[in-house]
């Protein structure tokens, strides 16, 4: 099946859901790692939307990435509570260590870094996630893949 058809199939599971197109796109991103134009076409067709509309949706939400991510995806909280306990310093160390800026993927594709604004762990910052792992009181070492 081509990518559009695959995305269409995923979307088909959410047709009657409130906010269905967004849920479908989240699932497409989770399934394929990122969202490409063909996926947008599939989702658009399933929900009877235009590709333009789906593109607009994808462009709005940070989780709906259109570029592939690194093999390990690290998100570091940049919000105030984490700032107050060293998030900026942690981020700088991580950028130096993994060779990718926030929003970037290391040249070798190993790691991608992303800013996140609050993980609800604000008593125990700096907070971060490494793929599905949640790290609190994070250190550069603790972020290693």
């Amino acid at each position: 099946m081509d990518q559009a058809a695959l995305a269409h199939e995923i979307a088909g599971r959410h047709l009657d859901r409130i906010g269905g197109p967004i849920t479908a796109l989240r699932e497409v991103a989770a399934e394929f790692g990122y969202i490409e134009r063909a996926h947008m076409e599939g989702v658009a067709d399933a929900f009877n939307l235009t590709v333009a509309e789906v593109r607009g949706i994808v462009g709005f939400y940070s989780d709906l990435n259109t570029e592939p991510r690194g093999r390990t995806h690290i998100r570091i909280c940049q919000a105030e509570a984490c700032q107050s306990v060293g998030a900026r310093e942690l981020t700088a160390a991580a950028v130096a260590r993994f060779g990718a800026g926030l929003g970037e993927t290391a040249a070798d594709g190993s790691v991608s870094l992303e800013a996140v604004y609050c993980l609800g762990l604000c008593t125990s910052g700096p907070a971060a996630t490494v793929d599905d792992r949640i790290i609190v009181r994070a250190t550069p070492e603790a972020l290693a893949p």
Binding site: I18, G20, G56, I57, E80, G120, T123
Partner: protein, 470 residues
Amino acid sequence: MTVAKVPRETLANALGADGIAAELAARGHDVVRTGSLGLCWAEPLVEIDGIAYGPVQDIAHLDAARIGPTDEIPALSRQHRLVFDRCGRVDPFDYDPTPIRAHLQRQPADILAEIEASGLRGRGGAGFPAHIKWRTVHDTPSDRKYVVVNADEGDSGTFADRLIMEGDPFRLIEGVLIAGHAIGADTGVVYLRSEYPLAAEIFSEAIDTARGMGLLETFHIELFVGAGAYICGEETSLLESLEGKRGEIRAKPPVPAVAGLFGRPTLVHNVITLCAVPGILEHGGAAYAELGVGRSTGTMTFQLAGNVERGGLIELPFGVALRELIEDWGGGTRTGRDVGAVQVGGPLGAYLTGAQLDTPMTYEALAAIGAGVGHGGIVVFDDTIDLVRQAHYAFAFCAHESCGKCTPCRIGAVRGKETVEALIASERPEVELAIIADLCDVMEQASLCQMGGMTPIPVRSALGLPQGGD
């Protein structure tokens, strides 16, 4: 056999709660997964036969972490828990639906009257009287109506929504069912941010359980997980998002209570607002109204965070002084330095310093100093804070999260960020400060929503500029 309560909660889990639970079970304990008690500094907090231990790093050395009988922990017993009364104490899925069934037998008019009597105001940030919204939705004719729960909890320093949805999801379901019954809705939708996957998992389980108990036969509840957009916490943006679109702000009027989700009358409330409702019905609106100060009635779930020794959730009647929360409850900064500034009410809240810390935590008192309660988040910074950098961040955050619909916020946030950069490098800072002051006026008065409209609050407070008129 001894009963061991271990939280199943994101923070506790990140600190190893799952492993501890497994080990305790292996040692023959009857392990109950509860929610968090909100004593985040003590997580993972394990309770064995009524005795609390925390933070538990290793069950081999449990005693070293002994706190004492849970009921006697001052940080807990001194709270006034109406919303969080069950959270952390019970297995959320060991749920008795009898009380909610009784509430749902009451007449809508009767419930509306209780809500009015309680003086309950929205906990999502704006503090708008709940009963006005309820009555508006109730009175607006429509083929269908909705209850929408705002669980987008994007403010830094807040986690109350997450704690309750992970620790007592039925409290929220109760609140939604009561509200739906009172206003004549048949569908409830919970908008949960994607950063809270465990809350999504637990809440979904709770919906299924409630359905299994027959609680959802005439009312449909759906969970929607967002896709990463702070602005979707704003209610009209949230509604657009629920309609499957870009989360661009809608102009008001019409307010959602008149034309909300899919153009139908919609009651939008924060999680905590709705979670206060079962308690109000249980104890009576009047009793609730006796708590707090003036028009700030009832309890508030303060969340103490950032650079603080004992961060966590503290549910108290309105009126406690900010300094008391930070020093008595929080034990000062984690770094041990002096408090430099405290940001109250999330990224759009003011940085308070010095004597401002003596302000009682009420809507009115905070408004009087150009600040706000917001969702009850309190972020402590020590004295190394660089406030100009925080002003820069306030603009940068707005630039990052602006929906991009209105011009003051879309362009203003970027220009603000750039001008603060210029200010840092400037020889004559008064030039940049004047531009920033004007920009803040424009953003405050001309923005479509409070994203742009309130960004000036942290900026001005950080830069020592006077707050705007109203």
